[in-house]
């Protein structure tokens, strides 16, 4: 984190504190995938803390196949104009030019996302090179720390987007939390070997061992479809949730969106979650992840 001295006459933009601090403001909230201005307004009305602008929700990307890319700038600008809350957008993994375009459009966060087709199978984008902060997905602690080393200012557990099945989100969040718990228990002499095993920088490993948490905000993503799913991820330690296809692929998006917001705030109050879960209409159909071929698992993208 940048700790250079601050003077009254030299405001600094794009610092690690400002980027990570933005994610701190989203905590306890729900970030919703939207494909147009109308959906963005529904999300804002429902109490979303931010929206993710993309051309197709993951469920449709899955159905349509083909190469999934950054969205049309016009569509992103329409969404920015439609709502007053922060707007995020996705770039392909390693496609730093898409990220440059998104930064120039003024999005508030860039998601370097495995939901889109990766542009580079070795390197992720150098996220320190941007003023706009990045969120990245991770399936385990080592992956999360590699992304943070590249400059990610927020992490989301990957889950399996577009399935409406929370099982992978649970697996990845538990994995990250368990590995953090393991680091906590280690003697400081053992952290060097732990860093080697995690394939992550020692300094970050040491920081996590000391803090007992990631140095950035941790959300959960990929498969949340109901208020109870959102509350489950919060009880497992996620500081907030991303909901992709789960809202606008359901029967009554406005109602479901508001219900997920309530359950995310009162994640430890089963009575409120029960009330939020009543009469929501049909949930998205969902896919069983154990029948999903390895090649169609987005979580395997990124390394």
């Amino acid at each position: 984190m940048s700790t250079s001295p601050i003077t009254a006459d030299q405001p600094q933009i794009g610092t690690a504190r400002v980027k990570r601090g933005m994610a701190e403001q989203l905590k306890g909230g729900v970030i919703m995938d939207v494909v147009n201005a109308e959906q963005a307004k529904i999300a804002e009305d429902a109490g979303a803390v931010a929206v993710m602008a993309l051309e197709r929700v993951p469920a449709d990307i899955r159905k349509d196949g083909g190469v999934a890319r950054m969205s049309d700038p016009n569509m992103i600008e329409e969404i920015i104009a439609a709502v007053s809350i922060p707007v995020m957008a996705k770039s392909r993994i390693g496609h730093f030019v898409e990220a440059q375009v998104l930064q120039s459009l003024g999005v508030d966060y860039i998601d370097e996302s495995e939901v889109l087709t990766p542009a580079d199978e070795v390197n992720h984008s150098d996220k320190w090179a941007f003023t706009t902060p990045f969120v990245c997905g991770a399936t385990n602690l080592g992956e999360a720390l590699r992304r943070i080393a590249e400059g990610a200012a927020m992490i989301r557990s990957k889950g399996e987007a577009g399935t409406g099945n929370v099982v992978e989100a649970v697996r990845h969040l538990r994995q990250i939390k368990n590995e953090i718990g393991h680091l906590r228990a280690l003697d400081h002499n053992e952290l060097y070997a732990a860093a080697k095993e995690l394939r992550a920088p020692y300094e970050l490993v040491k920081e996590v061992a000391e803090l007992g948490k990631l140095p950035v905000v941790l959300f959960s993503a990929g498969g949340v479809a109901t208020p109870a799913d959102a509350a489950l991820m919060r009880q497992l330690g996620a500081e907030g949730v991303f909901v992709g296809s789960g809202i606008f692929k359901s029967g009554d998006p406005a109602k479901r969106a508001a219900a997920i917001v309530k359950a995310t705030t009162f994640f430890d109050d089963p009575k409120i979650i029960a009330d939020a879960s009543r009469n929501l209409g049909e949930a998205m159909v969902g896919i069983n992840c154990d029948t999903l071929p390895e090649t169609e698992r987005y979580a395997n993208r990124g390394w």
Binding site: I6, I13, E24, G28, G47, G106, K262, F266
Partner: protein
């Protein structure tokens, strides 16, 4: 005198950082999400977060009216960023249906400093904390566009585009508000300032 109990409105936002900062400033801090919990605290911090979300949840879960009553009865409240918006009698660039708690006779413009790419940190002189500038972290931050006669301006930032400065910290009676986030820095002097306000109000 017993240690004051200060709640942090925990509907959404950077609650944890405020709990830590208040504890460092020697207060007992606890999260508040319900009217019953609000009734048990001496004072409240409204954190940074998304003001539209916070306002909606406060209305939905019956916290807004009890909070307005406590503010009217003189409970000390400190709002940062979204919390500043919540304490403003009047807001600009909010949602049409956005309600605030109110209490400070000021007009606050939401996201006035711009979007995330314009977010910044800067040292800032803060009246009453004269030993060194406060470290201000401004994130999609609001500014105070106008204040009434009873409002004391505690900090201003020079505007980037002209001679005017922007008001970024104010106090009116027992209410304190900053555009920026002292809770994101290791410098807890603004929280200590608020804890002193709370102690004074309890001593009255």
């Amino acid at each position: 005198m017993s240690t004051p109990v200060i709640g942090v409105l925990a509907l959404q936002g950077d609650v944890r950082e405020h709990l830590v900062a208040l504890a460092e400033a020697d207060a007992l801090a606890r999260p508040v999400r319900r009217a019953e919990e609000l009734a048990e605290v001496d004072a409240l911090v409204i954190p940074g977060g998304e003001s539209t979300t916070m306002s909606k949840l406060a209305l939905l879960f019956g916290v807004m009216d009890p909070l307005r009553e406590r503010v009217a009865a003189g409970m000390p409240v400190y709002g940062t960023c979204a919390g500043m918006i919540m304490l403003a009698d009047k807001i600009l660039d909010g949602r049409d249906d956005q309600e605030t708690v109110g209490g400070i006779d000021m007009t606050v413009r939401r996201n006035a400093f711009g979007r995330q790419n314009e977010s910044f940190e800067s040292g800032i002189a803060f009246a009453g904390l004269d030993d060194a500038p406060v470290h201000g972290v401004f994130i999609r931050a609001p500014w105070v566009e106008a204040v009434g006669a009873g409002v004391e301006v505690l900090a201003e930032l020079p505007a980037a585009d002209g001679p005017d400065s922007r008001i970024v910290a104010v106090r009116q009676g027992n209410l304190l508000a900053t555009s920026f986030h002292p809770e994101l820095t290791g410098d807890h002097r603004v929280h200590a300032y608020f804890v002193r306000m709370v102690e004074e109000s309890l001593g009255e």
